[in-house]
């Protein structure tokens, strides 16, 4: 069973507000991923880190999202100015780097 911890489980924000969620990856896993899963179960990759460095990120993440994975602290994903279209389940996963990923339970964001 996965030991990835995500907080909060539920987050409700108004449009234009900041929304921040956190993730503690499995101990010893150097790679951390953030995904956005919409109501149709479609995954959108947002960003991943190896140790504290960004490996890959999409344009949306560069512009409106900020993310970090500091050493000895939880990883975080923050939406600077929430939009209705950001309502989704945000999943954090960690990996040893061999394709198998361990997921947290997700943070369900609702933007009113």
């Amino acid at each position: 069973n996965s030991k990835v911890i995500q907080t909060p489980r539920y987050l409700v924000k108004g449009q234009g507000q900041k929304a921040k969620m956190r993730c503690i990856p499995e101990k010893g896993h150097p790679v951390v991923f953030w995904y956005q899963q919409n109501k149709n179960n479609e995954f959108k990759f947002l960003i991943n880190f190896q140790n504290q460095e960004v490996l890959q990120q999409i344009d949306m993440t560069e512009k409106r999202f900020s993310a970090e994975c500091p050493s000895n602290s939880p990883c975080s994903l923050e939406i600077q100015s929430s939009e209705a279209g950001d309502s989704a389940l945000y999943l954090c996963a960690s990996s040893l780097g061999y394709a198998e990923q361990f997921f947290g339970p997700g943070t369900r964001l609702t933007v009113l």
Binding site: N1, S2, V4, Q6, V31, F33, N40, N41, E42, F43, F45, N48, Q50, L55, Q56, L91, A93, S95, G97, Y98, A99, E100, Q101, F102, F103, G104, P105, G106
Partner: protein, 114 residues
């Protein structure tokens, strides 16, 4: 670029039936293929993975999947399903040259009726 498709959005079976969930991929090189399960309101849980060797891979809870290079497929099977197997199942593919890029299918919702 690797792609993965799951042709069935929904599959409904009765408890005790066998089931096959279909997954097809496209990529020219060496790949990892995986299956994950997502119960309602929860994160994904890894079921099994194939990279090389025996094309039939055994996973948890009686699931197995078979890799076929000729069909570009990695179908998931279970001989006798239980109501607790009701969930959404995702097939995923990543290139061996970049295992940090994982592409997920759109998922198949399995409903097991009593």
């Amino acid at each position: 670029t690797q792609t993965v498709s799951q042709s069935d959005a929904h599959v409904t079976v009765f408890e005790g039936d066998s089931v096959e969930l279909r997954c097809n991929y496209s990529y020219g090189g060496s790949i990892y293929l995986s299956w994950y399960i997502q119960h309602h309101g929860r994160g994904l849980q890894f079921l099994l993975k194939y990279y090389s060797g025996n094309p039939v891979v055994q996973g948890v809870n009686g699931f197995k999947a078979e890799f076929s290079k000729s069909d570009s497929s990695f179908h998931l099977r279970k001989a006798s399903v239980h109501w607790s197997d009701s969930a959404v199942y995702f097939c995923a593919v990543s290139a061996a040259s970049n295992t940090n890029k994982v592409v997920f299918g759109t998922g198949t919702r399995l409903q097991v009726l009593p």
